[in-house]
Symmetry: C2
DNA sequence: GTTAGTGCAAACCTTTTGCAGCTCT
DNA sequence: AGAGCTGCAAAAGGTTTGCACTAAC
């Protein structure tokens, strides 16, 4: 069961808690991951086979507009879809490995300072903010060095391809 | 004419400088704005009516993978398309007003610190990074207050709608 | 002369919309 | 009871792909 925060917030604002929304809310809130609409849909379908993909999109849109979830792109790793997470935690950056897809979260003082400076220097009223960093995690830096070594020994022409992020297994769509 | 930087970089790597690419490179490099593929296509068509939209996408993809341009989302203001800018300047955040669409760039120490901390604390090799902030610019904060006042005097039910970002004139697509 | 790049048409993926019917409160 | 939601089908927006032809080097 999900933390009651989101549901209470919705109830207070007169949003109806349908069976479908309860399922989706629980999934988003307890997954602890960054799910996209399709993943969410697949998971929700197991609990309610009738639940429609459109309902997922409509629910996400509502939660986003209510400021209850944040929408991420994760540097378009894996495609052009969006990812979602509940807005409970402190503001943080998402650091994504373009080789293995691992997402690390980075909390720290620079994030708060940036926010503060934008508000003060620009007189800006911030509603949402997002920092995403793409590159190679410590493990994949090593793996990539090996890949390139192997390639160098076998076929130099392949080196060009290796310069671009290797296609990770998790990738679902077009290259 | 564009700064020679991008073209030289491509030439050195054996990328062919076709008429179409020259047009697109000049546009991206000299516009000084954040253009999306469609805007770029419309501008390029004026210089070469035969130039195809697909060529715009292919060129942008190549420049992106070469690290010569950065891809932005600008908080999906105006839709789900991407915006592009040359990677000449210092790293900076994009601060976008969700009411009028104005994009301000924010340079500052927190951006560098964040980058450094991610590299050091996570042992991460950064290839690209992006910070986007959405909200209301100083001017639109005032305008919104007025809108809400007017609404309050005329029709309270409308207040709900006003709580969400007003649809700006620049918006091209679906609400 | 090669090989990379282009245009065209068609596909693709993700997300939104219109509408009739269902269901929370 | 009735406004708010859902499901279904269809469309839309943005981007990519296959292939035959063209042009840069």
């Amino acid at each position: 069961m999900a933390h009651p925060g989101i549901k209470d917030s919705l109830r207070e604002r007169g949003v109806r808690l349908t069976r479908q929304r309860r399922i989706l809310l629980d999934l988003i809130d307890t997954s602890g991951q960054h799910l996209d609409a399709e993943q969410l849909f697949q998971m929700a379908k197991k609990k309610d086979p009738k639940l429609n993909r459109v309902t997922v999109y409509r629910t996400l849109k509502m939660l986003k507009q209510s400021g209850l979830v944040d929408e991420l792109d994760l540097m378009h790793y894996g495609g052009d879809q969006h990812y979602y997470e509940t807005r409970l935690k402190q503001e943080h950056a998402h650091v994504i490995c373009l080789r293995c897809g691992k997402v690390e979260e980075f909390f720290g003082e620079p994030i708060h300072k940036l926010r503060k400076q934008v508000e003060e220097n620009l007189g800006f009223q911030i509603l949402l903010a997002r920092t995403e960093v793409g590159g190679y995690c410590s493990n994949c830096q090593i793996m990539r060095a090996r890949e390139i070594d192997i390639v160098r020994e076998t076929d130099l022409a392949e080196l060009e391809k290796a310069e671009q992020p290797a296609s990770p297994a998790a990738k679902r769509k077009r290259a």
